[in-house]
Symmetry: C2
Amino acid sequence: MSDELKLTTLGGAILSLLMRCPMSGYDISLQLRSPVSYYWQAKHSQIYPELSRLSEEGYVTYTVVGQQDRPDKKVYSVTEEGREAFTRWWASPVKTSPSRDELVLRAFSLWQADSGVALRLFREEEARHLRQLEEYEAIRARMEAEASGKLNDLTSKDFSDYVTLMRGIGYEEEYGRWCRWVIEQIEQLGTGRDAQESE
Amino acid sequence: MSDELKLTTLGGAILSLLMRCPMSGYDISLQLRSPVSYYWQAKHSQIYPELSRLSEEGYVTYTVVGQQDRPDKKVYSVTEEGREAFTRWWASPVKTSPSRDELVLRAFSLWQADSGVALRLFREEEARHLRQLEEYEAIRARMEAEASGKLNDLTSKDFSDYVTLMRGIGYEEEYGRWCRWVIEQIEQLGTGRDAQESE
DNA sequence: TCTCACATGTAACTAGTTACATGATTGC
DNA sequence: GCAATCATGTAACTAGTTACATGTGAGA
């Protein structure tokens, strides 16, 4: 098992969690579920098969842990081979996935849209990003209060969390700013006919 | 054909180009190729079958245009039904695709990385985003010089282009800023042992 | 002769989503 | 009894990528 095999990004994502501490497939799916992780997401239907693959390749092992009040679970942890594969993956060139953004795609056809419909769309999206930003800011405040000491330690997991969080904050801020700017453009440039119709 | 059928996002992307002016599948693939379009991308192997589907559903039609010095081509244009489907799609709720970013995923494991390797990774990515930003800024300068009159007209295609471009600029600026900040953190917090090794 | 741009397609694969399937226990 | 959380899986599908396949004409 395991000689020069490469990790998929999903494999990397799973190992990056298991490197922090052993956990079950279910726990991984909670960490990687949509509203939680800014940086990577996956459903359990993708995670369980990937865990089997990682296990076959010898990158992870598991022990079945019986529980009294809930179903038994498989707790996975990273093997030495897994650690090596992970380090190789981490240092390898970053795979840049093509940017696809449906709102920006629609903005490309703003010229043919009804201003009222456009305003509704961009206001909804602005609100979504502001909500997400608030959530992130709350986490940030909590982290800065609770883990302030560890936030100048490159080797602390808290600092890594902080770094990814800061990207989420920057992303949402910038996205919200752009939405607001588009809304203002529509409000100011609109002929008045349909630009006024919703609020 | 064509009653309440919905467009895929790729279908929307293709129609958004054909709404601007009729063109061939090849032309569409040039518009949607990786380094060009910030907002949506697709390969020709995805575009041609999608054009067939759109054609079957009656959303587009084509005429074969013979050319003397190059191969013949099919020039597609949007039908009235296509226009209606597009308008419905444009007004429908935006499908938010889950955020997946491999660099941010790696940042999540910064705690276990070698500082030299991390610096290399983040410097490369910073450079990539700065290059992209420069490219966008050049386009922006050109647009502001050439199409300044149309940049206050909501119904002009130039203004739509400008709006999508501004998102690209904001995105790259923010991404670059975050990379820079991470690099500075690594340089300042690094123990000195491996943080210095690459310049 | 070879490569590049134009031009259109299909086949095989990988990644990811949605839906199906099962089963325990806790709290309402 | 019903919904929710914990827990693990598979099947069927959609979307997207890589590779295969073919052919023209221009220019080096």
